[in-house]
């Protein structure tokens, strides 16, 4: 499979403190990849290494088939930093023209592309205003526009929707899905798990600088199905029988929460209740949300490395 990002034991240390340790990631082209972890887990450190702001202590990485640090490959990489700051004395148009020049776009190609991205992020008509007069949401949009200027094959977005209202978030999600449909790869760092869940194909969880779980979102979810049952006449024998199928089981009075590995286990649970002499009043299959998966995997909270 053609990879947009491959990292091999990529490590960043700040003296004795570890930013990221032996990160091995493979992000195929054409995916939206969510990178998740608590504050201080090393998410930004990895992104900063991949975009060339930090130099790795050891390990290597390949982006779009070129070694990390290659200048030419950056012509096809877009990056929206977290809390993007600007030369805010410029107008929106001037800012985009400056960033387009940094991407070596010139002449009519520059003008055409600036107009395109202004349209794409919904800032057409506002380009003559100085950036310092923009609202938070408009600033985020102009930052996204800067990242989209080179029509990037690989787009790094660090918290791209954090400053946006719900409509703005929806707009950005739609832009990202449109970009993905064009075969582009998006590496998304976000705390907004519901959004990641809506658009990402694959995710990785990082904790204390190390990747602790990664895979396609669908695969990660499939391995974790929660079933809630209301059971009358629950006996120790029935409980034991249910526990034998379960990855975990919680019981509160007549409410039983069970995690099972696969969909096929759900009818088996129902059969066990019936054959075990219990009365099944209610049964709900609950797919684990990304938030639950996140908390379970990372332990949640903020990390002090």
């Amino acid at each position: 499979m053609d990879m947009a990002i491959e990292t091999f034991n990529l490590t960043k240390k700040y003296g004795a403190k570890v930013g990221c340790a032996e990160i091995c990631l493979r992000v195929p082209r054409g995916q939206i990849f969510g990178f998740l972890g608590p504050n201080g887990a090393g998410k930004s450190t990895l992104v900063k290494m991949l975009v060339g702001l930090l130099f790795p202590t050891s390990g290597k990485a390949i982006l779009l088939g070129r070694a990390l640090g290659d200048i030419e490959v950056r012509k096809k990489i877009g990056f929206l930093p977290e809390n993007f700051r600007y030369h805010d004395w410029l107008t929106g148009q001037q800012l985009l023209e400056f960033h387009a020049s940094l991407y070596k776009l010139g002449g009519t190609a520059k003008k055409r592309r600036v107009d395109e991205v202004l349209d794409l992020v919904g800032l057409a008509g506002k380009e003559k205003q100085k950036v310092q007069t923009y609202s938070k949401g408009m600033r985020q949009r102009v930052g996204l526009a800067c990242a989209l200027l080179p029509d990037p094959d690989l787009l790094f977005l660090d918290e791209p929707t954090s400053a946006l209202d719900p409509i703005g978030r929806k707009d950005v999600r739609e832009i990202l899905v449109t970009i993905k449909a064009l075969g582009k790869t998006i590496f998304l760092n976000s705390h907004l798990l519901s959004e990641v869940e809506m658009i990402c194909d694959a995710v990785a969880f990082i904790r204390q600088g190390k990747i602790i779980r990664q895979g396609l979102l669908e695969d990660l979810r499939t391995g974790d199905i929660q079933v809630e049952m209301k059971i009358g006449g629950l006996t120790p024998a029935l409980t034991a029988a249910l526990a034998s199928l379960a990855r975990s089981i919680e019981i509160e009075d007549d409410l039983v929460r069970i995690r099972v590995k696969q969909d096929e286990d759900i009818p088996r649970l129902a059969a066990l209740v019936v054959t075990g002499g219990g009365f099944l009043f209610e049964m709900n299959r609950k797919r684990s949300t990304l938030e639950e998966m996140f908390i379970r995997t990372t332990g949640g909270g903020e990390e002090i490395c």
Binding site: L53, R74, L80, P81, N83, R85, W89
Partner: protein
């Protein structure tokens, strides 16, 4: 590099420090012009060629010395956060992740600010020279070479301040650069006193400070170029005082200043090329 140079030049024009410097320059040149005007008027009404031949060059030195002060302050204020402030605010993150080499980023900053400061200094010099020429009739020798050196003064400060901006936080860099500039100014005066009273120790102290920060020796060279004492029997009198130049810095000092600019700009590019942002 040209893109960075362009944005840096435009930023220089847009910053508040530029506006403040322009206002200060207008106030300074206005007061200076008024002073020179009345001095010229006084000598016209009560001619005293001998005294005029001493006072006019002193007025010129005075103008260039304090003009150099304003230009140097602008150089330090403009460059003190050229890189560190962009790191601190995060502006740099969206810039150096583009297909641009880090050394081109630094060189673009240097060229943009250098061009802006050199033009500002050149304009300042021209206005002072015109005031002196029109109001006193004093003919200045070597004024084009002097103009070049006057424009080089802020570029010397820019080079080391830019290096400081890579390795130090903005405020610390500002403190260090103003101290360095003060060392140069005091060293220059100490050397001037050394030549006046024939004290070798003071002269050498001045030379050492010129090596640490060659801005003041460039000023002394400018004064010598404009008022060459070998052609003038009153030269020694004209060059006395804190704004004069009792001993002409050699051409090697000018070459040293140029090397200083290249070395510190190179060091800034080298250090930035290895810096984690």
């Amino acid at each position: 590099m040209l893109t960075m140079m362009g944005i840096t030049f435009r930023e220089g024009l847009n910053r508040k420090v530029m506006l403040i410097s322009l206002v200060l320059a207008v106030i300074f040149l206005g007061l200076y012009g008024t002073g020179v005007h009345y001095a010229g008027q006084s000598f016209n009404e009560h001619p005293n060629p001998m005294l005029a031949a001493v006072v006019y060059p002193q007025l010129l030195s005075f103008g260039l010395y304090f003009g150099g002060f304003i230009v140097s302050f602008l150089a330090i204020f403009s460059a003190v956060g050229a890189i560190s402030a962009e790191i601190e605010t995060g502006i740099i993150q969206a810039v150096i992740t583009k297909p641009i080499r880090r050394r081109d980023y630094v060189l673009g900053k240097f060229l943009g600010l250098g061009l802006f400061l050199a033009l500002y200094a050149a304009l300042f010099f021209i206005v002072i020279a015109m005031i002196i020429n029109i109001k006193t009739g004093l003919v200045l020798d070597g004024q084009w070479r002097a103009l070049g050196l006057f424009a080089l003064q802020p570029v010397v400060l820019l080079a080391i301040t830019l290096f400081g901006s890579v390795v130090l936080p903005t405020i610390a860099n500002g403190v260090v650069m103003f101290m360095l500039y003060a060392v140069a100014v005091i060293g220059g005066m100490v050397e001037q006193i050394g030549w006046l009273i024939g004290n070798t120790g003071l002269q050498q102290a001045g030379i050492v400070t010129s090596l640490v920060m060659p801005v003041d020796s460039l000023y002394r060279k400018i004064v010598h170029l404009l008022m060459n004492p070998t052609n003038n029997p009153l030269g020694a009198l004209q060059q006395m005082g804190p704004f004069g130049s009792m001993a002409e810095p050699s051409v090697w000092m000018v070459l040293y200043a140029l090397s200083y600019v290249m070395i510190f700009t190179g060091l800034a590019a080298y250090a930035f090329g290895r810096k984690d942002i």
